[in-house]
């Protein structure tokens, strides 16, 4: 297997999307996870995502062949030794991320740029696990990575200009528009969207309007592609709640208190698309099923 210039660690949904975006740009990429099986599962997931895109006319079979040929699955973190860009996409737990960055610090070339894809955690805290915090930077991509044209480039306290320039170069490679964010809880996207979603849940809970009508109002009234409740279902209600709690504990403002309906649904395991039921119902492929009245959801919870 050839050593590639770009390495992605974590073959979950985010890692898969990023690997696909990198390979689509024409660069080769290694997708690393704990076991070869997990990494290969990630690559398989990319193949399935591309198949869906072919079905939607976005790509062709020969595109798929070319993209897949540029992605190498691996379980060997030492592959990062020769890479100049290393992107971490593992789950949002500070300690796990810190441990990984400590390891990367001992493996990677001193010139390498270390990128974390965290959406809420402190870049500076992650960077502090290394001897080279100036080389660590955050790049918060949004899912689906291949479709959302935005990335937040998040500077930690010690991130230097050269590292920032490298991140911009990487964003350009992937054809993403970028914004600069100075590290602060929730950055821009999460900080702004989460309270909106939370407020939509309050509106629903207080019986002001149905889930469908709330989404309809925000879509048609303000030009959102997706309504806030559908968006919450797509993100995962547990994830939304953890973001709220994170913002609440960091910023101690009442407005970040998770809506009681959100807590209730998370406790009941109604987490959205991934469990087939959130504010709406979904089939196994994540397609929305015919409307379910709000009352069923809440009473069932």
């Amino acid at each position: 297997m050839p050593s590639t210039n770009i390495i992605i660690i974590g073959a979950g949904v985010m890692g898969q999307g990023l690997a696909e975006a990198v390979a689509t740009s024409g660069e080769e990429v290694t997708l690393v996870d704990k076991t070869t099986k997990l990494a290969e599962k990630g690559v398989k997931g990319i193949g399935e995502a591309i198949d869906r895109e072919i079905h939607k006319w976005g790509l062709t079979k020969s595109d798929k062949k070319a993209i897949m040929a540029r992605i190498y699955p691996s379980s060997d973190l030492s592959q990062a030794e020769d890479a100049s860009i290393i992107i971490e996409c593992i789950p949002e737990y500070l300690e796990t991320k810190r441990t990984l960055f400590e390891k990367l610090d001992s493996i990677c070339d001193e010139k390498a740029t270390l990128i974390t894809n965290s959406g809420t955690l402190s870049i500076s805290e992650i960077a502090a696990a290394t001897e080279r915090p100036q080389k660590v930077i955050g790049m918060h991509f949004l899912t689906p990575v291949t479709k959302v044209p935005l990335v937040e480039i998040v500077k930690g306290l010690k991130t230097d200009q050269h590292t920032f320039d490298k991140a911009v170069e990487f964003a350009d490679l992937l054809n993403k528009q970028w914004i600069t964010v100075n590290e602060y809880p929730g950055f821009v996207t999460t900080r702004c969207i989460v309270p909106l979603i939370n407020e939509a849940m309050h509106v629903l809970m207080e019986g002001v309007a149905s889930a469908d009508d709330i989404d309809k109002a925000m879509k048609l009234g303000f030009g959102f592609n997706v309504g806030p409740l559908s968006l919450a279902d797509m993100m995962g209600l547990d994830v939304v709640m953890s973001w709220m709690e994170n913002l609440l504990s960091e910023l101690s403002e009442h407005k970040y208190n998770p809506c009681p309906l959100l807590r209730k649904m998370v406790r009941a395991g109604r987490l959205g698309v991934k469990t087939g039921r959130g504010f709406f119902r979904y089939d196994e492929e994540g397609n929305r099923l015919p409307d379910t009245p709000l009352n069923h959801v809440v009473e069932g919870a």
Binding site: E53, K56, W57, G58, L59, T60, A66, A69, K147
Partner: protein
């Protein structure tokens, strides 16, 4: 003069080394899979066997380095030193409204070429990469850009203006440009020569039918109309491109299937045409086979292809007020008697009479119309590289 002709794509570079005195190809080949760890260089000297070299060719600069090296190699080479390459001619897809002719490449010109990227985002960036790669590898050889659009530069406004607000033409350069210019130029000149005339004496229609396809009305040597427009998507049905369609369909489909711009673009450019209708293939040979064996909608795809081509021929005859010659060229045009026969069917009223036997057995430059056919129908293998080499030689000689 020895001219290296370069056609640089996104992940490939095609090349020919042409001696302009004899107009013979000294060697030709292609680098494919650029950017992948196992890129391939296929090289064929005029008198030798084809060779393949595999290597890590990460970008266009390294690709050109490989090409120059193999051209000089002891076993497969045709020159001893890189200095024997007198000049480099590049195919550049889009010359916009600025370029009516081929031009010598200078730093100022590079800036102008970059400004044209917006008009041809899929092609011009790679063409520019090829130019820069040659500047690095052959710093002493003058370089010339030859444009796909230049031949159509004299097209009159009534042929190139679309029926949308004129201000959009002024603002964004939205007009018909036309492509395949080098091919249309070559086959009409060569065709006229074959008839013992010059193209200035004839009203000609040239049908370039490759994976991309376009048809041009060449009135006394001047392209007065052509089927490809603002982009190479318009006009004839192609391998995977739709060609002409009601523009409202795109808007309708984007809404119905919730398509993004990118998806709609790919739908029209890569999932349509022969492949999209037939469900069989984008390759005319497989379409013809499919039509015989009644596979998928292959027969329908073949009919749509020929019917649309027929309409264009009649329309362009009207545009020129008559017709003397029709030329078929490129992959399908040169190799498919079925397409040629089906297209010319019912065009007898224009004076087009095909000789079935000549059509079936045509090879190389050939006349396939009957002796007494008022309109001569020809098959001419295209040679875009030769057009590039000739232009390059002419421009470089003028500089000296």
């Amino acid at each position: 003069m020895k001219i290296l002709v370069i056609n640089a794509g996104s992940s490939s570079v095609k090349y020919q080394l042409i001696d302009t005195e004899t107009e013979k190809v000294m060697a030709k080949g292609m680098v494919s899979r650029i950017g992948m760890s196992e890129a391939v260089l296929t090289h064929k000297p005029h008198d030798g066997r084809e060779v393949k070299v595999t290597g890590e060719i990460l970008d266009h600069t390294i690709a050109i380095e490989y090409i120059v090296t193999v051209l000089m190699s002891e076993n497969h080479g045709v020159i001893k030193d890189a200095s024997e390459i007198d000049a480099v001619g590049h195919r550049v897809v889009h010359g916009g409204e600025q370029f009516a002719h081929s031009v010598l490449i200078t730093p100022d010109l590079m800036t102008e070429l970059r400004s044209l990227i917006e008009l041809a985002p899929l092609h011009n960036p790679h063409n520019i990469r090829g130019i820069m790669a040659c500047q690095k590898n052959l710093p002493n050889a003058p370089q010339v850009a030859v444009f796909d659009t230049a031949f159509h530069h004299e097209m009159p406004p009534h042929a190139y203006i679309y029926g949308i607000p004129y201000v959009l033409y002024k603002r964004y350069g939205i007009r018909r440009y036309g492509f395949h210019g080098m091919s249309h130029l070559y086959v009409t000149e060569r065709g006229a020569q074959l008839l013992g005339k010059t193209s200035e004496e004839l009203r000609m229609i040239s049908c370039h039918l490759g994976n991309g396809a376009s048809i041009t009305a060449v009135d006394h040597g001047v392209s007065i109309d052509t089927s490809m427009g603002f982009t190479p998507l318009e006009g004839l049905l192609m391998g995977t491109r739709s060609g002409d369609l009601d523009p409202a369909i795109i808007l309708h489909l984007m809404a119905r299937e919730e398509l993004t711009l990118h998806e709609a673009n790919t739908l029209l450019n890569k999932h349509s045409g022969l492949a999209g209708i037939s469900g069989v293939s984008s390759d005319m040979r497989e379409i013809e086979q499919g039509a015989r064996e009644k596979t998928g909608n292959a027969a329908l795809a073949l009919n749509v292809f020929c019917y649309r081509l027929k309409k264009y021929i009649a329309a362009y005859a009207a545009a020129m007020g008559g017709l003397d010659t029709v030329v078929f060229t490129a992959g399908v045009g040169e190799n498919s008697p079925i397409v040629r026969a089906k297209t010319c069917e019912k065009l007898e009223f224009l004076g087009i009479h095909i000789d079935d036997e000549k059509n079936r057995t045509a090879k190389g430059d050939a006349i396939i119309s009957t002796e007494d056919s008022p309109v001569k129908v020809l098959v001419i293998p295209t040679n875009e590289e030769l057009v590039i080499a000739r232009d390059t030689q002419r421009i470089v000689s003028e500089q000296k």
